[in-house]
Symmetry: C2
């Protein structure tokens, strides 16, 4: 990721998120996604795909076409599936997404290691792909789970859930963690735990209220931007602006 980001001189990851559309209009969705990706490609280092396009288009249908297009443009493709199931299911999910061409997937560390994250890391290693873990999400309700106070199972002292997740990401050698740009103070705290060992991916810039420069200054390495680009009148200009405002530390 670091290599691609340097080459493309960008820390911006495009989230190809579209709101619900009549499933009959699937072809339009694919055309739109391909067109935006084409325009925006010079200004980003990767794409992130969530269920918005995978549910209507299918991962071996339209989504694979988008992933291939991203790869041809020298970009990486991250699947934001937030895996949070039992081991056998996580393994199946990871196998399918990697088979569809994704370079990394996002998982929720809340599921724990044994029969949870471990099979995902095993499959990732087998296919030489990445695993990115959630640490703190960008929506308000995140305070209830990611922000809650928990008792550390080893030290038996109180700690914050997101710090416990950050420590696990470090321990398991995750390829990144996700921390919302809407909570720059959490980015700072998590960055203190991770240092340069695990990069922070930060969604929530723009539509959700997060600031690009603030997030980067707090310690984010990559900014994940969706609606701010996708729903813009001119996606390429929006992406270029964000790239510049991000003042990438490259």
């Amino acid at each position: 990721m670091e290599e691609v980001s340097r080459k493309k001189q960008s820390s911006i990851i495009l989230a190809l998120d579209f709101p619900f559309q009549n499933p009959q209009d699937r072809e339009n969705l694919l055309t739109k996604a391909q067109s935006i990706l084409k325009e925006v490609s010079p200004h980003i280092c990767a794409i992130k795909i969530n269920h918005h396009p995978t549910l209507p288009l299918g991962i071996f249908g339209g989504v694979q076409t988008i992933v291939n297009q991203a790869h041809k443009a020298g970009l990486l493709a991250i699947m934001d599936c937030k895996v949070n199931d039992i081991g056998a299911t996580n393994q199946t999910i990871a196998e399918y997404y990697y088979a569809a061409g994704f370079d990394a997937l996002i998982a929720n560390p809340f599921i724990g290691w044994e029969e949870g994250l471990q099979p995902i890391f095993d499959i990732a290693k087998k296919h030489q792909r990445g695993v990115i873990l959630l640490a703190y999400m960008s929506h308000k309700g995140a305070a209830e789970g990611y922000g809650q106070t928990v008792i550390d199972s080893e030290t038996h002292t109180q700690t914050k859930q997101y710090l416990s997740f950050a420590k696990k990401a470090l321990k398991y050698g995750a390829d990144g963690v996700v921390v919302g740009a809407t909570v720059p103070e959490k980015i700072r705290e998590i960055h203190q735990v991770l240092g340069k060992n695990v990069p922070i991916y930060s969604p929530g810039v723009g539509a959700q209220g997060g600031g690009a420069a603030t997030a980067l200054e707090a310690g984010a390495r990559y900014l994940i931007v969706g609606r701010e680009i996708v729903q813009s009148a001119d996606p390429a200009v929006a992406a270029e602006k964000l790239k510049a405002s991000a003042k990438s530390p490259i």
Copy 2:
């Protein structure tokens, strides 16, 4: 769900989970799923679908065919997507699954209410569908998250995460909670919180080591069974046996 279960005289929900298969063999997967469903239909009250068939088949492709087949057999269809995203994404996910015909979906209460669960419950209400929340999963690593001790944000006292989730399910009027059959003592504790207000759906019977009678005795209302039926030499016989051993309280 209660009505269908009474009519079908069964508390068994078939989990149509298949391990990863070469995406080229998608047609075989659909044929297999349809054939098992046909054989097993008389002995179950619903099907539960996870990403195992949705990723290779697509929800508006093969999976919709399976959901339609279930409906024609008088069964309900639950999507086990374990939604755990931000509000706008959850909303899109819920819209697509309900549009594909699912009667209920499963969500992770760890995401919190505001901009998390709330939009899912709103969409469910709009379409008169169900929302089932995770309370304690069936795999070993569940102890790390679902089993952890947290500080209750209202009482400021220590409590277990799964009890906090159970209380939320009651508060939000969830249509059910999921508690693994591998942890009958947790079913019992959660059942004490929920009483008859929110039914417990219990996966993990058979392949994962959970016992049907033990789970029901502890307070589970429905048993979700996958591999024990799907990978059996005779799925219909396996399902019928489970139905009988479950000694449904109907």
